[in-house]
Symmetry: C2
Subunit: 467 residues, 2 copies
C-alpha cells in the first residue's frame, strides 16, 4: 500500500519511521501513537485518491491539520495500522470575493494566514485563538473552534458558509457555496463541522468576512464577584450592542499567577479584587468614539456599583497590553506547574452560583489546591482549572486526583445544563465522558449518522464515539 | 387506530372529514391532500405517543405548524393514509432567561407571540417575516426561515441554540441547551433545522435573545442600477457595521405596482429611477444618533455617485411607512395578477450581472412580461418574479410558461453558484428540482442520513427527497 500511496502523492510525501514521529504525538505530548505512515497530499484530488485506496485496503484515516488540538483528536492509535493524512501542504487561498464578503481557502491554511489574507483585502476574518500561528482552518472547522470573539462573530461553525469534503468512499462533495441563505436539503455542512474527522475530510471552506473595525479598544475592570460580572455583561450588551467583541473573566488567582511569573507585565489595576473582566469594543468610527462609549458604560456600571475600578486603554498598544495579560494566564499556569483543566460552558445565568458552589467543593475536597478560573464569560465558557497545591508533587497530585476532580466538575456542569467541552472537542480525551453524559437516544442518533456516512468506520475511529 | 389516537389526545383533538379540511390545503391553495386524520397533541409526551403509534401501524406523519409554508411541505398526499400532526396547541413559553439571553418555547407558539414575549422581557427576538402573525416557531425552524433581518441576526438556524425533538421511533431527544459554545459530538440540532419534518418532529426550542435597540431608523434611496446597490451595501456594512439590520432592494417595476394598487401610500422619493433600496439601522443609542450615522453614510454615497436621491425617516412612524411600502410589494403583485415566483440567492458579487443578463433573457423569451425584482439584497436573496404580460390570460400564461421560466432562472442561478430556494425550502414544490440540481454525491448523503434517522420513511415522506 505504501507504494500505491507514493504513486499518488510522490515519494517525498509519504513519511514513515522517524520522519513520521512528529505527527504521531500531540503537541502537549499527552498522546503518542504509531502510524502506518504519514501521507501529505497536495490537493483535493490526491486526498480523494488516498481515501479510495484506504477504503479498498480497509485502512483507517486520521486527518491532521496543525496538530495543535487539546484532546488527542488527531493522534493515531498505537497499532501502526492507521494512516495519518496531513493536509499541511494544502495552503492555497482559492478566492477572495470582497463584494460577497467571502473567501475560499484550503484546509491546510494556517488560521493566521487566513486572517492576514483577509486583512490584505481590507476585511476581517474574526476567528482568533491562542494557536492561530500554527493551527489550520481545516482543524478549526473539524473541531468547531471558538476563541475570543465568539460573543460577536460566533464559533468556526457560524463563520463557514460552504465546504469541500472528501467522503469515506473517496468521493468529492463540492459544497463550497458563498450563500447566506440556502434552504435546499439537509445541513450536511454543519454535520461535518465539529465532527473531528470522523464523518468526512474537510479539504476546503468558504468563509465569511466582515468589515474591519476602525478601532478596537479594551477596558480592564475590577469587580467584587462573578454575579457582578454577569450584570456588567448584560449592561455592556445593551449599551455596546454588537460592538462588544470580547468579554473575558479573570479571577484574582489567575492574575496573581501572571504577576508572579511575568512581573514585567504591568497590571492596569491593583490586584486587590476577587475578579476582573477584560472588555473589547470594536468600533466602526474611531478610537475616541470607542473610548467615549466605554466611559459612558463604565460610569453607569460604577454608578450601579457593578464594578469597583476600571481602566480604559488609551492607545492601541495599551489595548494589546491588556490582551497580553489575559493571554498570559495559560502560560503562567504552566510555569506554576501541572493543573487539571476543564473547558466548560454553562447558561450564563448559572455561572455565578456554579463557581461559588463548585469552587467551595473543590477547595474542601482538595485542600490547598487553587482555582484558576478565567475565560470567555460572554459566551458562558470558562477554563475552570485546578492548580495542584504548592506543597505537593504536581504529577502525583494529578495522577491521584484528576479523575475525581473531573467527575466532580463535570457532574456539576451536567446537572446545570452545561457542556463538558465548550470549545476543545472530544477526541480521545473525552470520548468516555461523552458516552457517560450523553443520553442513549442522542448516542444512538450519532452512531446511526456515523454508520450512514462512514459505514466501514475508517474515518478517525475511536474519536468522539467510542464505538 | 383513530380510537387509539383519541385515547392519547382526547376525542376533541382527533379531527376527520370536514373538520380536517382546513389542514389539508396549504394557505395559497396550491396543494390539497386527504389525510387519515388531524391529531392535535397538547404536549411533547403526547407527540411521542402518537409517533410510537404511527411507527407501530406504519402510518406516516405530516407535521404542521401554522400552515403558512410556500412549498407544500406541510400538506399530506391524497391517499388518506397520512396523519397530520398539528402542533398548534403546544404554545407554552417554558422559560425566559434574561441573564443568558435565551428563551425556551414550544413549537406551536406563533412567531409573533415569541417576539412579544421577548419584548415583554425587554429583549429582542429578531426573526421577522410576513407571516409572523400566523406561522409557528416550529415551522420556522423546520424550514430554517429567513426574513428581513438575516443580514444582522442570521436565519432561524443561527437563532436556535437547542431543540427538543420527537424521533421517528417516538423517543424524546432532550436537546434544549442554552449554550453558545458546546462541542460534544455531532450537530444534530442543525440537521433537524431545515429538514422540513422529514427527520424528526421539533417540539420545543431554546432561542437566542438580543438587547432591544434604542432606535430603529430607515432610509429610502434611489440608484441607477444594481451594481450601485451592491456598492452601497459594502459602504453601509463598513460604516454601520452590525447596526445595519436591513437592506432591501426594490426595482422600479415593483414600486410601480405598489403605487398603482395602493395609491394612498405616499412614496418617499419620485419614482423615476431604475432601482431603490430600503436600509434599516438599529442603534443602541438614540434616534438622532442613528439619523446622524445615516446622514454621514448617504453623504458619502452621494459624493461617490453611488446613489442619486435619498430620504431618511424622521420618525418611527415614517420608518414604519417605508417598511410598509416594501412589504406591500407581494400584495401589489397579487393584485396585479398571477406571477411566476422565484426565491433565489446568489453570491452578492454576481447579482448585478445575473439580473441584467437573465432579466434580458426573460424579456426576450416572454415578450411583454414584467420582472418584479425585490428582496433581501443584503443576504444575496432576491424574489425574482415574472408577472404575466398585461394583455394575456394570466392563468394560461402560467400554465404554458412556468416550467420553462423556472428552468431558465434556476439554470442561470445554478450556473452562478446560487440557490434555487433561499428561504422557502423544498417541500413538494421543489423536490424534483432538488433532485435535478444537487450532485448525486450530496443526494446519496442526504438519503443515507434520512435512512439513518427515519428508516421506515414515516416522517413527511415525499418532501425534500423524492424517494
Amino acid at each position: 500500500m505504501l507504494d500505491e500511496l507514493r504513486e499518488i502523492v510522490g515519494d517525498a510525501n509519504v513519511l514513515v519511521g522517524t520522519d513520521a514521529a512528529a505527527y504521531e504525538t500531540d503537541w502537549r505530548k499527552r498522546y503518542t501513537g504509531k502510524s502506518l505512515a504519514v501521507v501529505r497530499p497536495a490537493n483535493t484530488e490526491e486526498v480523494a485518491q488516498v481515501a479510495k485506496l484506504c477504503m479498498h485496503h480497509g485502512v483507517s484515516i486520521v486527518t491532521q491539520g496543525g496538530n495543535t488540538g487539546l484532546v488527542g483528536g488527531a493522534t493515531p492509535d498505537g497499532t501502526s495500522t492507521q494512516l495519518i493524512l496531513s493536509l499541511a501542504r494544502m495552503t492555497h487561498i482559492r478566492e477572495i470575493d470582497t463584494a460577497n464578503d467571502t473567501m475560499t481557502v484550503e484546509a491546510g491554511c494556517l488560521l493566521q494566514s487566513v486572517q492576514e489574507a483577509a486583512e490584505k483585502a481590507q476585511r476581517l476574518f474574526p476567528l482568533s485563538l491562542a494557536a492561530e500561528g500554527s493551527c489550520t482552518i481545516g482543524g478549526n472547522l473539524a473541531t468547531n473552534a471558538g476563541g475570543t470573539q465568539v460573543l460577536r462573530y460566533g464559533n468556526a461553525r457560524e463563520l463557514c458558509l460552504g465546504l469541500e469534503v472528501v467522503t469515506a468512499k473517496g468521493e468529492i462533495w463540492h459544497g463550497l457555496k458563498g450563500l447566506r441563505k440556502d434552504n435546499t436539503g439537509y445541513d450536511l455542512r454543519d454535520l461535518f463541522i465539529g465532527s473531528e474527522g470522523t464523518l468526512g475530510i474537510i479539504t476546503a471552506a468558504t468563509l465569511k468576512l466582515f468589515p474591519q473595525p476602525a478601532a478596537k479598544v479594551t477596558a480592564f475592570v475590577a469587580l467584587n464577584d462573578i454575579a457582578s460580572a454577569v450584570q456588567l455583561l448584560s449592561l455592556a450588551k445593551a449599551e455596546l450592542a454588537a460592538g462588544l467583541t470580547g468579554f473575558e473573566l479573570m479571577n484574582a488567582h489567575s492574575l496573581a499567577l501572571v504577576a508572579a511569573h511575568y512581573p514585567q507585565l504591568a497590571m492596569p489595576l491593583p490586584l486587590e479584587s476577587p475578579c476582573y473582566v477584560l472588555l473589547e469594543l470594536s468600533d466602526a468610527l474611531s478610537e475616541p468614539h470607542a473610548q467615549g462609549l466605554f466611559e459612558r458604560l463604565l460610569e453607569h456600571a460604577m454608578h450601579h456599583a457593578i464594578i469597583t475600578n476600571a481602566a480604559i486603554a488609551q492607545s492601541l498598544a495599551q489595548s494589546q497590553h491588556f490582551w497580553l495579560i489575559r493571554e498570559s494566564i495559560p502560560l503562567a499556569q504552566a510555569e506554576e506547574g501541572l493543573n487539571i483543566k476543564h473547558d466548560i460552558s454553562l447558561p450564563i445565568s448559572r455561572i455565578a452560583q456554579f463557581v461559588e458552589s463548585v469552587g467551595a467543593q473543590l477547595e474542601a475536597t482538595f485542600p490547598g489546591s487553587r482555582l484558576v478560573n478565567f475565560g470567555h464569560l460572554g459566551d458562558g465558557n470558562l477554563h475552570f482549572n485546578l492548580q495542584a497545591p504548592r506543597s505537593v508533587d504536581h504529577a502525583i497530585f494529578l495522577a491521584e486526583n484528576q479523575e475525581r476532580c473531573n467527575a466532580l466538575v463535570h457532574d456539576a456542569v451536567h446537572a446545570r445544563g452545561g457542556s463538558i467541552s465548550a470549545e476543545h472537542g472530544i477526541g480521545q480525551l473525552k470520548a468516555a465522558s461523552l458516552a457517560h453524559y450523553k443520553s442513549e437516544i442522542e448516542l444512538v442518533m450519532m452512531r446511526s449518522v456515523k454508520q450512514a456516512l462512514d459505514p466501514q468506520n475508517l474515518l478517525n475511529p475511536g474519536k468522539v464515539l467510542l464505538k
